[in-house]
Symmetry: C4
Subunit: 253 residues, 4 copies
């Protein structure tokens, strides 16, 4: 309501950035799961090689995630009109840009996940399942923040964020489940497809709420738009199957 | 609200068709589970034979499901007054027949399940649990779409669809559970009974909302009708036990 | 709303009857679980004896449950002012005593559980987990019916029934869990304590809504009563621990 | 509403006390889990020694928990203006200090957990998982009571207690899960971090609702405060990771 024009204009990018991050990570995790699965199936003699390889990959993954998180935090904080690390404006007696701080908090928890990734692959005494735990934690925190993110917004806006919360919660649940079922490729692919869906949906939200073409936003009060977005969400989900299928075909080939 | 008379009249058939599909699949899965269970108990020498048989059955099952899904989609699209594959009417600036598209989306995901069924039984390198995953996905998508299907309808209409969502969610949950508990006949029978219940309930919805006798629909504002449908739902569930019991007696005999 | 005085007066008994049933069954299941547990711990030589004994006990249990269910159904149907097996009054064009039919449906599903109990202990080819499945089914159906049972009642009435639904749902969930964790005595005792709590709570509902002393019912609009019943529910739960502790001390001694 | 000034003033202490208790227990359980984990990893020869040690620790833990519970109960009952063990005021015909009785009930269930702790470590025939069960029970009871604790309060007050209920429910769920997954250090650390979060959050509630500096309470109707507390909750959670990380570094060193 009190957000300036600049921030609203920047919001398409604000949704495209995490969308791209999640799309990259989803694709990457799908490739990793399928690679691991096929390696295990073929029981190659070069098992040790692949193990050392996977170790380095794990390290690289952690660093990439941390870089992504830092990019996101810096982008949120030092954008024109952003909070610039100030949390409370004592002069006016009100909080500064709390929505930006929300986003930073989410990025921060994904950064923590990256740190755990690196720690677990370097310090052997740490339990390996800690990475999964931090992933599910980061997702649950993200869902929790998004759930409390849309106070006083319009119906369509709330709806698309509710779908986002739904897919994040499901992803978090699946990641939590992986704590107990190691090496189940089906569950890993399910998680990857959810992450891909989340990435796609971020883009879709950007297009719906802040059309980059400069045209007007969708009518937030039309029930038909909600009806359409419901099936649009499902089609995005079907699309992730196609993407993962293509990755599978590519990797095995 | 804007639905023409023809579509309303066609709606009894629109509920009877999926009802019949689910009833057939429920019966079939109950037979298959019980057959597998008794085969395993008796440890027949002809184990390899039955394995090859089950493989062919799996293939046939996939093809049947795809046929059903295509029938459903074509029926929804090319019915008199249907959307005929057009999604957005640019002239009037509104969506075309979104409810029909909702139904198509659900059929489509069941079609995907059929495709996965075929792929998993022909390509041996694919994990077998993928079929279960796609089944649970198709069911969760169905529940999700039905949940967002009844905006602005009347109380009785919403209630019967809520019960539908309930049973679909439970079925999806049980199918998801089967990912982790292989060959547990009790869980498989539970899923079959839920699928049967869903089929019966589709028929019941058809009778309640669009009485084929041409009589008036039930009073949508009478709380007693909701009270009755609550126990009616339970009786349908009890009926599925009787059906499965009869199948069990028939198969073992 | 249209219930006559006779039925209202009979309602204390209507809550005391199932309360007594659940209390008996809870006590009995607690005894059985503890007996089985101590037998298994001590690895008696007379293992076969105890197995044959448990088989007969299972049979007796099934018969007892069926008798209870039939008592309940007959009591609901042929009470003075009851529905007497008529479901729809064509003259007045309205349903007859749907609340009574609700209760009958619940009793019926517990009867089905008793039947499964008997079938599973006589026909060895049936999977033993079917009994657990039917128990969890009966409980979920009970919770479902109670959830749709209190349309248009007063706040206190709705609240005590909500707590009932809560405990029934939890019991059903625990019973469902037992499908997958065989012979875990802690889980079995948890289920028994929930069943005992349900029995106690039925009695408490009877005392709150239809005080047998003939005094006035509790003030249904006073929030303090809800506040008190919240902790009262917890104290009943603590009481079930005491009961189970006493049973444990008695059995091991 | 009818609470006197003295009780309101005492309320910061009323939140600081359980906050401190949970913080101590969370820290302690984190230390215990990490100690057990490192002992198991190093397979020390002095395994029997550590086992006897853990047995004595278990006993001490039970006694500490009971002392904490009794302190809490006495504090709630015999504070100036407390209920002094009277539950119903027959003169005025109303309940006495139900909120105080709510707190006592919660403390009582944690006391029960302490008793079970002692019983399970002294009587060897009792199943060890009973302790976990009682812990999850105590937490679920706490969540249940808190859920029904805030009738008719203001928005901010309700919100901070809802977050409390959320974290308690999650802790209870994780403790319940531990019944089935023994010795999984990741899950144990997750539980400890939730307990620490609960302790921190109690302090935070105290500061928000009853600022000890004597300044005015936060504006209960300002949505921005809710937005801030959402991320504040997440930061407290991140803080628990830091605390547990420090404990880990300290213990392994």
């Amino acid at each position: 309501m009190f957000k300036g024009v600049k921030v609203v204009m920047g919001s398409f990018k604000g949704h495209a950035l995490p969308g791209t991050f999640f799309f990259i990570m989803g694709t990457w995790w799908a490739i990793k799961s399928i690679l691991k699965y096929t390696c295990r199936k073929q029981k190659r003699t070069s098992y040790l090689v692949s193990k050392a390889l996977f170790y380095r990959i794990e390290l690289l993954e952690g660093i990439t995630i941390i870089c992504m998180a830092i990019t996101g935090i810096l982008g949120e904080q030092f954008i024109v009109g952003g909070p610039h690390l100030s949390l409370y404006n004592y002069k006016e007696g009100q909080w500064v840009q709390l929505l930006g701080w929300h986003h930073c908090t989410m990025y921060f928890f994904f950064g923590l996940m990256g740190v755990t990734n690196i720690l677990c692959s370097t310090i052997s005494s740490l339990p390996a399942s800690l990475t999964k735990l931090m992933m599910s934690n980061a997702l649950f925190v993200e869902a929790f923040v998004f759930y409390n993110h849309t106070h006083g917004r319009e119906m369509l806006d709330v709806f698309v964020h509710q779908l986002l919360v739904l897919v994040i919660l499901l992803t978090g649940f699946v990641a939590f489940l992986e704590l107990f079922t190691r090496g189940n490729v089906t569950v890993e692919l399910l998680r990857s497809s959810f992450i891909l869906l989340q990435g796609n949906w971020f883009w879709q939200i950007g297009f719906v709420l802040y059309p980059p073409s400069g045209g007007p936003a969708w009518d937030a009060m039309d029930h038909d738009n909600i009806m359409f977005l419901t099936i649009c969400f499902c089609w995005h989900y079907a699309l992730t199957f196609v993407i993962i299928g293509m990755i599978y075909a590519f990797v095995t080939w």
